[in-house]
Symmetry: C2
């Protein structure tokens, strides 16, 4: 059975996956790029980068994935749906290379991008979206791409088999939290924590129950 | 100059240092003893325990400390001040062995316990309490013992030189959080994270600025 996973999902020590004040200029709000510097420093991101534990986790993003599901806030800044020409915050050749299902109340026709990414727009529950994505993935795994609200909703619905969170040692103080309403989540998972020389800690939840 | 530190302060992955529903029977509320099992498994706690990184951190609790400051919620369950015979939640020989200053609006005469602990009761701000504790500590360091509200207030007042937090991989979902209102705290500190085979991650904040 294909698995449903979250990879490289960065949060601050106080649990925010996105800062406050998201806009077209600040995709992560006041967090800027502070949640992702560990990633930019890996050799998987750019030549000459590190080849250690951060890189090993980073490179799990693509292999075996047949489709991604993302929230509207990952696709674009608040209000993107009012721009009929908006094609996402991820450039002409987005780093997904599979069908991507964007959860939004403002659906539009699918958009084919370079490099194998096609955006589809769904107004659907997590379980409904997953059913559609599974079909598109052709037996491969499904990535839940974020943001924090989307990951949390899939966790609440108990649809995630593997969760990889990267805890960055900063305190954002405000933004969109990942953990609200998830009391006892660990009971269904094996949990491991691995701190990296970069300062971040990788925490993985791997499902142990059906 | 004597330093002000927090040692072995355990929080859940979602940032709670105490669960909800504290009572005489449940000092940490619905968290039970889940935040402190890593500590009970060390050789510093009991013979035959582990001697690794958890133990090394645990044993930093006592050496060099001349006084502790704790909040009313660490001293006893809600309402302890209505019991004139209440002598704290820490037994006849408490694990402090120094003067301990209890921050409370309900002060009472000092209580001398076995083993060198004397409880004093102060209705004071963090800065005022620290001044009194420094005098009592005779040049030794001061421990801020918790709970989360007390630690947070000392952090907000920028009075902490060294903070050792132990992140336990459980989601409590509710309780008293440590991190609220501390945006950007890391700017004044060197931060290190060290994950342990026990599953917890030790995070230390060591002050770099005066």
């Amino acid at each position: 059975m294909a698995l449903v996973g979250v990879h490289n999902f960065a949060i601050s020590l106080d649990g925010y996956g996105t800062g406050a004040g998201q806009s077209a200029e600040a995709h992560f709000g006041h967090a800027g790029d502070r949640l992702h510097q560990w990633m930019f420093a890996t050799s998987g991101w750019q030549a000459g980068g590190s080849g250690g534990v951060d890189d090993a986790f980073f490179r799990r993003h693509d292999p075996g994935i047949g489709a991604e599901i993302m929230g509207a806030g990952k696709f674009g800044h608040p209000g993107w749906h009012e721009d009929p020409d908006w094609k996402g915050a991820w450039g002409p050749n987005p780093p997904f290379h599979t069908p991507v299902f964007v959860l939004t109340h403002h659906t539009r026709p699918s958009i084919e991008m370079e490099g194998g990414t096609t955006y589809h727009f769904l107004d659907a529950s997590p379980a409904e979206a997953l059913e559609v994505a599974r079909e598109a993935a052709g037996g491969k795994d499904i990535r839940i791409g974020g943001g924090p609200t989307t990951v949390r909703e899939f966790l609440e619905a108990r649809l995630i088999d593997h969760l990889h969170v990267v805890v960055v040692p900063i305190l954002l103080g405000r933004g969109v939290g990942l953990w609200d309403g998830l009391e006892g989540l660990e009971k269904d998972y094996d949990v491991e924590a691995t701190s990296s020389p970069s300062g971040v800690t990788h925490v993985t939840f791997t499902r142990t129950t059906a």
